[in-house]
């Protein structure tokens, strides 16, 4: 009996992965970024959430290698005197958390809706029309609208405490149709196949066929879009934060850091915006590159249009 690990070691997936330098590099960078962001409380030199350690006198200090910089703050400080490096690490953690959380929610809603509309013909028309309307509206727009409504509804008070789960819900609600359409398309393709017919002939229940037979076969397209969707969700969060509908500056994500620094580039403090910007782009880029690799490797027929 071979263990799972041995099977994985001999698998074609790993072989293919190890032959692709771009995939390996992306994976290593991503692993590094995820690790540093979640280890932020341990490795970050300062705690940006602790207002007692922040001194406004340190505000807008340049990075260490430029005149006016201090070795205490490697990448300089932001307008409130927080250490850029630490704030960015904490911010990245918020971004990743929201991105992954939102994708889990999207996948959950999307897979259920996709399975239902692919397998229950009567629901198909209603559910897909709804998904189409939402998709044609662009996920950004929907997220911005929901964010806007939520903000007018609850006001700004106490917002920073609920911001993370709220953003997960907002982005999750905005982007589920992607999943629903992908899952539905592969369900439609799978249910025509003979093994489903066979399962029906044996007399298995519809729910069992759906969950045990069809669902596993739709997973590879789901995996492919998931990687890209995480990148998209992080981008959406950054966009919402940039518009002031996302994370507040007291508990910033990468997006809100960029926003907060924007007005200071005119006075020459470029690092407050540029550093989180570079970090955000690298994070999304490596996820996208990995996504490309996964797509090329699994190469499912993705639903277009």
């Amino acid at each position: 009996m071979r263990t799972r690990w041995q099977r994985f070691k001999q698998s074609y997936m790993l072989y293919n992965f190890l032959r692709d330098p771009v995939a390996i590099t992306s994976f290593i960078i991503l692993a590094f970024l995820v690790f540093t962001s979640f280890a932020a409380p341990i490795i970050a030199p300062h705690d940006p959430y602790d207002s007692s350690t922040i001194d406004i006198m340190d505000a807008q200090m340049a990075p260490a290698w430029i005149d006016g910089g201090s070795s205490e703050f490697l990448l300089g400080t932001d307008a409130q005197g927080r250490d850029m490096l630490s704030t960015m690490l904490y911010g990245m953690r918020v971004s990743i958390l929201i991105g992954v959380g939102a994708v889990c929610l999207q996948a959950f809603i999307g897979i259920i809706v996709g399975l239902l509309s692919g397998y229950v013909r009567r629901l198909d028309n209603i559910l897909m029309r709804f998904a189409d309307v939402q998709l044609s509206f662009s996920t950004y727009m929907v997220a911005i609208f929901i964010g806007a409504i939520v903000q007018t509804m609850f006001g700004v008070a106490g917002y920073d405490r609920v911001a993370v789960p709220l953003l997960i819900v907002i982005i999750g609600l905005a982007e589920w149709p992607q999943y629903a359409r992908t899952v539905r398309a592969s369900v439609l393709a799978e249910r025509k196949k003979e093994y489903v017919e066979a399962a029906r002939v044996i007399g298995l229940s519809r729910i069992r066929i759906m969950l045990r037979h069809i669902l596993p076969n739709t997973l590879s397209p789901v995996l492919v879009i998931s990687t890209v969707q995480v990148a998209n969700a992080i981008m959406s969060e950054a966009a919402l934060s940039f518009l002031g509908l996302g994370m507040p500056i007291t508990k910033p994500s990468l997006g809100s850091l960029i926003t907060a620094g924007f007005e200071y580039i005119f006075s020459g403090s470029w690092w407050i915006t540029i550093f989180p910007g570079i970090l955000l782009v690298s994070l999304i880029l490596v996820i996208n590159l990995l996504g490309d690799w996964v797509r090329d490797f699994l190469n499912p027929k993705l639903y277009k249009g």
């Binding site: 509804m153 002031g244 926003t259 999304i284 490309d292």
Partner: protein, 325 residues
């Protein structure tokens, strides 16, 4: 073809009904039309009187029908902040946004088609690799970050281009403020339209490339080679025409989505269009204006999508000649 067009238009109307219903539900639950009209300093009895007069105590469906009737006539309610009809405010801001979208669409179309096709027919050349490499970086750059970088480089450091606003505009047709006709206006337009196109351009290049590569693998393209046609003819007539069909469907929708990205671009460049107006209305809790924007943008999306579907039908002979099977 006719039946196809009618079906599409009916669908579009359905979608607009859904959108207006959502919009009205928002307004119904979160808006305060009395405040929109008369402000905060009114006694409760007067407020109740106004509510009754405006029919705000009627059942939901009655109010929705009234909203719909007004909307069809172009009345989308009163903006609390501007003290003007919301549709008037939007129409005043629309030209700025539309000019921006138009310029970006122009940039996207004229760059993505040749670049995407080149990357598809010569995938091994270093320039193709460069195109694909930079396109994935482009996809990973949030619009507002591109915009900020542009401002930092070309406005703050190099002082070549203005960093915000629309510059000098000229009024044409009596109401359309155009920045396209003055040098200053064009200068102001460069960076916002590049920023706005930066997100869609790589997507289009990748889309065109992958579709084109798929078509190049097809039997009919192989047959075209076997007929001894010139490469130009095979690429542009046989392959590109078939690439166009999926690109039109996906691409058209994407162009509609660009309106959503104008919110971000306009915020960065303080571009006085609908997008920045919308964000301001959110900050001011101007529900009527928000809903009006939702309905208006929804209308644009639906119009673009329907137009794209009909163009698709015109380009695709299987629909044009026989009707959809």
């Amino acid at each position: 073809m006719f039946a196809f067009a009618v079906k599409r238009i009916l669908q579009a109307i359905m979608v607009m009904l859904i959108i207006s219903c959502i919009g009205f539900a928002i307004k119904h639950n979160f808006g305060d039309p009395v405040r929109d009209l008369v402000g905060q300093r009114v006694t409760p009895t007067e407020r109740a009187e106004i509510r009754e007069r405006l029919g705000l105590n009627d059942p939901f469906m009655v109010q929705y029908a009234r909203f719909l009737g007004d909307a069809v006539q172009g009345d989308l309610g009163q903006s609390y902040f501007f003290k003007k009809p919301a549709s008037e405010v939007i129409l005043k801001k629309a030209p700025a946004t539309l000019e921006l979208v138009l310029c970006s669409a122009f940039i996207i179309t004229f760059l993505s088609v040749p670049l995407g096709i080149y990357a598809a027919i010569k995938p091994q050349k270093w320039f193709s690799r460069f195109i694909m490499g930079s396109s994935i970086i482009g996809v990973s750059m949030p619009v507002f970050l591109t915009a900020i970088l542009l401002i930092y480089v070309f406005a703050v450091e190099l002082h070549w281009l203005p960093s915000y606003g629309r510059g000098k505009t000229v009024c044409i047709f009596g109401w359309w403020d155009s920045g396209l006709l003055t040098l200053d206006g064009l200068k102001h337009l460069i960076m916002p339209s590049i920023a706005l196109s930066s997100i869609m351009l790589p997507l289009f290049i990748r889309l065109i490339r992958s579709e084109m590569m798929e078509v190049l693998e097809s039997e009919y393209v192989k047959y075209a080679w076997a007929k001894g046609l010139k490469p130009r003819r095979v690429w542009w007539v046989h392959a590109f025409k078939n690439t166009l069909l999926p690109v039109i469907t996906v691409g058209g929708v994407q162009l509609g989505i660009m309106v959503a990205f104008t919110i971000l671009t306009e915020t960065v460049f303080q571009w006085q269009g609908m997008g920045s107006m919308f964000i301001e209305s959110v900050e001011r809790s101007d529900t009527s204006l928000m809903v009006a924007y939702l309905v208006f943008v929804g209308l644009i999306f639906v119009l673009v999508n329907t137009a794209v579907d009909i163009i698709y039908g015109l380009v695709n002979p299987t629909i044009r000649v026989a009707g959809r099977k």
